[in-house]
């Protein structure tokens, strides 16, 4: 899979360098729980505050009920491409413990777990694209979650498809160079990056 250009000041591990968030998913390839197993295993071993592991994941495969509920909650700008993916996943944070005490770092820790999922998925030749554009409350209801949990993000996971199959605007966006703020802007203190 070719990667739109990314300018780096330091070399990074190929797994991290290869990871990106494409929108062109194969609409015919399928996944199953064994094929997703290593990526969820990686998420499982992410670090968390006090080893609270405040994350959970609700998985749907293309064509099944859970898939339909998750896609239905998406903003149309997301469902237009994500509905083609082999699987979609709702990423859930536990917001309080058994005693009703707020877990302050659940959302942060969920982000770490999904990052670990994405890195392992990349190792498996899969692509992952996360989304914040969806109706979290509607999905909370349709998935039957309790008040202690919130759906924070969704992601689509599958095998790469042909960008030519995307709507024109998304096809153009897919080919743009990848960009990030310079290191000097995001890392400060006792350092002085160029």
């Amino acid at each position: 899979m070719s990667e739109p250009t990314a300018t780096r000041s330091f070399d990074i591990d190929p797994l991290l360098a290869r990871r990106s968030s494409p929108r062109a998913f194969s609409a015919t390839d399928t996944l199953n729980q064994d094929l997703l197993g290593p990526a969820f295993e990686a998420a499982r071993w992410a670090p968390s505050s006090g080893n609270s592991q405040p994350w959970s994941f609700v998985v749907g495969f293309r064509g099944d009920d859970t898939f339909g509920k998750i896609v239905e909650s998406m903003a149309t700008g997301n469902s237009v491409w994500a509905a083609h993916a082999s699987a979609v996943v709702a990423c859930v944070a536990r917001m309080e413990n058994e005693e009703g005490k707020a877990l302050s770092h659940s959302v942060y820790d969920l982000g770490q777990a999904v990052a670990h999922f994405s890195v392992q998925a990349t190792a498996e030749g899969l692509i992952v694209h996360q989304m914040a554009g969806f109706d979290s409350q509607a999905l909370h209801a349709s998935l039957g979650l309790d008040a202690r949990h919130q759906v924070i993000t969704l992601f689509a996971v599958g095998t790469p498809g042909d960008p030519a199959d995307l709507p024109e605007k998304l096809r153009e966006r897919e080919a743009l160079p990848r960009v990030r703020k310079p290191l000097a802007e995001v890392v400060t203190g006792s350092v002085s990056y160029a």
Copy 2:
């Protein structure tokens, strides 16, 4: 570096498998911005909502002013081991955009960036241990951050030390097997993991 036993249902990439959060840091090895460059570069290329990149990092090296400010903000249960590390880092989330609109996924995205940092650091032979136990408001003040930013976590980064140098209670904890909830408990929907 030996790793306390971890039971896995699926094999994961060695980089992710090797990553853990030890407390025994070398108190003599030093780091500099070039040695930390690849890990920050990895953090820089993490995904974020709308590519907002709402993260920044304030770095201190053992013995300098920034290091002192960050260690001073730590709960003593953390400073007792983290003060030996070659570097400590304050992980900062931007909570609103230029127009004062809340950035809903900053904390989640910061978690992803730190996860990417940790994976790359592991590739460099470094160890990382994150902390939520610190006085975020005091550190916000001593680092001179503005109202749009919050310090969400800290981490220590360095080279492995000798667990025998840790206080007894931490030494014992360091040798315990690593544990996580079973996959079946955290991944649901159209899957049925053992």
